[in-house]
Amino acid sequence: MATYLLRRLFQAALILLGVSLVTFALLYLLPADPARQIAGRTASAAQVANIRTQLGLDQPFFVQYARYLGNLLQGDLGRSYLQRSQVSDLILARLPASLLLMVAAIACELALGLTMGLLAAVRRGRASDHALMVTSFVTVSAPQFVVGLLLLYVFAVRLGWFPIGGYGTFSHLVLPALTLGILGAGWYARMMRSSMVDVLRQDYIRTARAKGLKRWTILLRHAFPNAILPIIAMIGIDIGLFMSGIVVVESVFGWPGIGQLAWQAIQRVDLPIIMGVTLVSAVAIVLGNLLADLLAPFVDPRIKLQ
């Protein structure tokens, strides 16, 4: 267990090192000149050159990367070019909002998705199964910004049930969480259905039925715990989808999280912020995958970590 954990942590660190190199290389190639941007339009060539030297932008690629990495290991993500504050501070200030949204969205998609999948598996082949599966196809095919804007229009503008974007109370949370949750729900519904269909075919379920157990006891106590396994393996991928989703959803709803921060930074070509958010997202995805692997043996004792 301990060696397994160490090996996985080492692999995760390697992947993150690669991620930092790729992000840095991408942004190094950016044609926009950050020094020119900081100096403003009226600055002279000498002033721009001065800023470039100050930021170390005139150094060779690997020198710049080594310095970036050195700072990174000390938890320093650099300074924003335009806001003049530490990137780590900017991200930390906005992280709670995004985490709140993530928890709400995941609760939403699990509640919707697992229920849909369970019902579809139970009613397999019938009209309600087909209806649920078509619904799940629609939700995974709907672009999140359209879903967000339409929910906003119907429930905030027209009906006035929820505020038109912003942050602070529970009612601010509902629409963005729902927008993010709907996509994931379609996903989970499909996975849950196919996994449940497999489980329901097995002998021990037939035995349970033969013993005369109640239908819902069989489903929830006997079948569900086994059917949930492949879904736990999805945590990492789900976090990836979520990290992509918040860039869109937070900008539609004016939710002050790291997605909105990234989006604003992209428009102003504020490199250190973009790199910071991408790195934080990658860390979240890598940790999610690790967590999924570590959780598996607790849910299913037959799985051994090695």
Partner: protein, 302 residues
């Protein structure tokens, strides 16, 4: 964004090479697949014939295309789907936008398939140091959130139609590579391939005569499902302003441009949004049906 090309899609067990006969007729027996094919046909036709079907020039700003207050007009006899914030005909923009969305969908997805298949086959069949490096790089790419990576790339490369397609391909090949890799590996362990090796067949012959034909069904299924992912990613990038650039129309950037008016003129979000949803849904439905049709072990699971 990589919606259906994920773990949801089980790795197809190596089935018989696709021969084509029977596949089409079995596909046509599924109502949802037929529905999807009809939607795709409609979009392809309207994109191809946009100059003849479209009632107006997509970039013409009509003098009578805005209300006296300068707001977009709702659907009417003159402008069937209304006008946008600059007084342009929305229907014409949608029809021309279909061209960009489709071209990007097909080109980007084709490129992603080629890169992904190449990486997957090289890593899965030839293995060795190159294979290991390729798969480690694939693992690395999996750690990036697709949209953020695409946004970074689009920002670096400055968007144009082909750049957007390239960016999407550079993000989307990863899933294909993983699936093709694991399938190639399991294929090359199988007895009929081992028998070929024993019989002294060359590696190239085994690759072209046996491995690649068995990968066709996987590539077809992921190729179809992948277009849906691509269409959605293009729409999202354009909505964020780093995809297809105005005045060129794409379904995503029509919403991007008109976002400020969406409270007063919701049709400007609804119609392009419905178009994106329908096209993505159509490819998902056809891809899912193809998966069932091409995989004999899934028969009757429905």
């Amino acid at each position: 964004m990589s919606v259906l090309v994920g773990p949801d899609a089980p790795v197809l067990p190596p089935s018989a090479p696709v021969t084509g006969e029977g596949v089409v007729s079995r596909l046509l027996r599924r109502k949802l697949a037929v529905l999807g094919l009809l939607v795709i046909a409609a979009v392809v036709l309207s994109a191809a014939f946009a100059p003849w079907i479209a009632p107006y020039d997509p970039n013409e700003q009509f003098f009578d295309g805005l209300s006296l207050e300068g707001a977009p007009l709702g659907p009417s006899a003159q402008f069937w789907l209304g006008t946008d914030l600059l007084g342009r005909d929305l229907l014409s923009r949608l029809l021309y936008g279909a061209r960009n969305s489709l071209i990007i969908g097909v080109v980007a997805n084709g490129a992603a398939l080629i890169i992904g298949t190449l990486v997957g086959v090289v890593a899965g069949y030839f293995r060795g140091i190159v294979g290991t490096v390729l798969m480690r790089f694939t693992d690395l790419m999996m750690a990036f959130p697709a949209l953020l990576l695409a946004i970074c790339l689009a920002a670096v490369l400055r968007p144009s139609l082909w750049i957007v397609a390239l960016v999407i391909a550079l993000v989307n090949w990863v899933q294909v590579a993983r699936v093709v890799y694991s399938e190639t590996r399991s294929l090359s362990e199988r007895e009929f391939i081992q028998a070929e090796v024993t019989l002294g067949a060359s590696r190239a012959r085994i690759l072209f005569a046996h491995v690649l034909p068995h990968l066709t069904s996987t590539v077809i299924v992921y190729g179809t499902l992948g277009i849906s992912t691509t269409v959605l990613l293009e729409a999202t990038l354009s909505f964020l302003g780093v995809g297809v650039q105005p005045p060129d129309a794409s379904w995503g950037n029509i919403i991007f441009e008109n976002q400020t008016y969406f409270q007063a003129a919701p049709w400007l979000v609804f119609f392009p949004g419905a178009a994106i949803l329908l096209l993505a849904l159509a490819f998902n439905l056809v891809g899912d049906a193809l998966r069932d049709v091409l995989d004999p072990t899934e028969e009757g699971r429905g």
